[in-house]
Amino acid sequence: MSSTITARERAAWGFVAPALIAIAVFFAVPVIAALLLSLTDFDIYALADLKNLRFVGLQNYERLLTNPLFWGAMKNTLWFSVLGVPLAIAASLFAAVILNARTVKWRPIWRVVFFAPYVTTLVATAVLWNYMLHTKYGVINWILTSVGLPAVDWLGSPATSVPAILMFVVWKIFGYNMLIFLAVLQTVPDDLYEAARIDGAGPWKSFRHVTLPAIAPTLLLVSIISVAGFFQLFAEPYVMTQGGPAQSTVTVLYFMYEEGFKWWNLGSASAVALILFLCIFAVTMVQLWASRKLGGDHT
């Protein structure tokens, strides 16, 4: 009997070993190496000859924290997240709530249509939105000017570059969270809405007292994932603005890319990556803590 168990266990290891080895070599080792790399002055000279590599302790971190360009990237990333996360979640939730109404026609088709931008290639749709946001020929300014508003230099002015990119990002991703919200909304029994209606609750009241409590846990999950996503914006500024105008759309990941692969300061770039990770981690922890606190108040 024991020999059949070991044969089975051996087979099991045969099944998991390739994946575990791949994860160890191509994920775990690089992540740990990033930590070590961030403590060195790995640069273009070290790239040519490893003898030029020196251990510098926390110098990369110190230098970053006194670098205004890095703080600019942090500020822009924060700006993207503070504006983008609520905007994207609100759009997803709005679309989910109206698509959950039984009286809406062709619901299965709309569901797929609303989700479609999410699977499109980011670079391609960013190029498309670049054209739509064009100051002179873009369709968005055409809509604005035809209702009598002034044209906006969307991607050319530091004041509007972030909102302009966010319009594109929300268009592209709202369908994802919408599907998640829809799946949860479909588990809310109709009786609850019926009861709220009999109690004289309007649409807003029934949203607040029936819909919102039902989706609260999902809302937390979605907001955590969204924050992580918005902290990692890269291709959008790379394609649409190249970080400009006036550095207004340089995100942390964009800063890391330039630091690492344009200037070949791989030690410093690794420090950026780790700071980014710590920020995402910290925000996640705060969100979990806040939800526990709020959840505790309710009961």
Partner: protein, 271 residues
């Protein structure tokens, strides 16, 4: 009540318009003659439909080469990811081995670490073994998919134990059981995972941008980004490039959307 129904349907149609109009317009502009899109007000449809931008992209800009790179990489990534993650996902769900649950918990914990952190060391590792600027280098991240293992495991948990036991009593080896009993029952999740990896690889930008340094190895997104920096003013050609890049994945998604959406919800809501 009537008014509410009309308002709801109007709101849905408006969102539909906002979602679909950019994509439809992208297609329309790609068929316009050069310079036509740079007029005000923006024209909705081409005066004369022309394929000249598509021709230029394939003949002069090497789009065929980039498309081949994208297709080959996405296909290989899909095959490799399935080969590595499916047996592991099944084993974590159904086979007993020492440390199984602890290893699985560690993997789930590691999901919070964004893969971007390891990007720079991974690049150096691949450089030291000469894999930068090769397909192999571009494919490496797809081997280490914790999410794929997780997805397959969740699905494999529902395989009835009796089915596996019956095959064991008949004297089938574990490898044979996996091939002829487990794989057929996993088919739906295999389609889902294949779709995720294929679209993920096709749409990926940062890693191919870093690791594929030679222009002849560019994938469509990398090539399109480079092209858009040179040809900003050439809206019609850029839209044609965007159509070529987006159309294959959009068609694939629409054909298999059931699998995609079901898998996506299984991975996020119940997870």
């Amino acid at each position: 009540m009537k008014l509410r129904v009309i308002l709801l349907n109007a709101a849905v149609a408006l969102i539909g318009l906002i979602v679909l109009f950019p994509l439809a317009w992208m297609v329309s502009v790609s068929f316009m003659s050069t310079g036509e899109a740079a007029t005000f007000p923006p024209p909705l449809l081409p005066k004369v439909w022309t394929l000249s931008h598509y021709r230029e992209l394939f003949v002069d800009q090497g789009m065929g080469r980039y498309m081949w790179n994208s297709l080959a990489l996405a296909t290989l990534a899909t095959l490799l990811a399935l080969g590595f993650t499916v047996p592991a996902g099944y084993a974590f769900a159904k086979l007993r081995f020492r440390g199984r649950d602890r290893i699985f918990q560690m993997l789930i914990g590691a999901l919070v670490i964004p893969a971007q952190i390891g990007t720079l060391p991974l690049f150096l590792m691949l450089k030291s073994v000469g894999l930068v600027n090769t397909y192999a280098g571009a494919l490496v991240p797809w081997l280490a998919s914790i999410f794929g293992i997780f997805l397959v495991r969740q699905y494999a948990l529902s395989i009835p134990e009796e089915m596996l036991e019956a095959a064991r009593i008949d004297g089938a080896s574990e490898g044979r059981i996996f091939r002829s009993v487990v794989l057929p029952t996993l088919t739906p999740i295999l389609v889902t995972l294949a779709l995720f990896v294929f679209l993920g690889s096709w749409n990926d930008f940062l890693w191919p941008l870093i690791v594929l340094t030679d222009q002849s190895n560019y994938t469509l997104p990398v090539a399109l980004a480079a092209l858009s920096r040179e040809h900003v003013q050439d809206a019609e050609m850029m839209m044609a490039g965007a159509v070529i890049t987006v159309a294959p994945v959009l068609v694939l998604f629409l054909a298999l959307q059931r699998y995609y959406i079901r898998g996506m919800l299984a991975g996020s809501v119940k997870g």
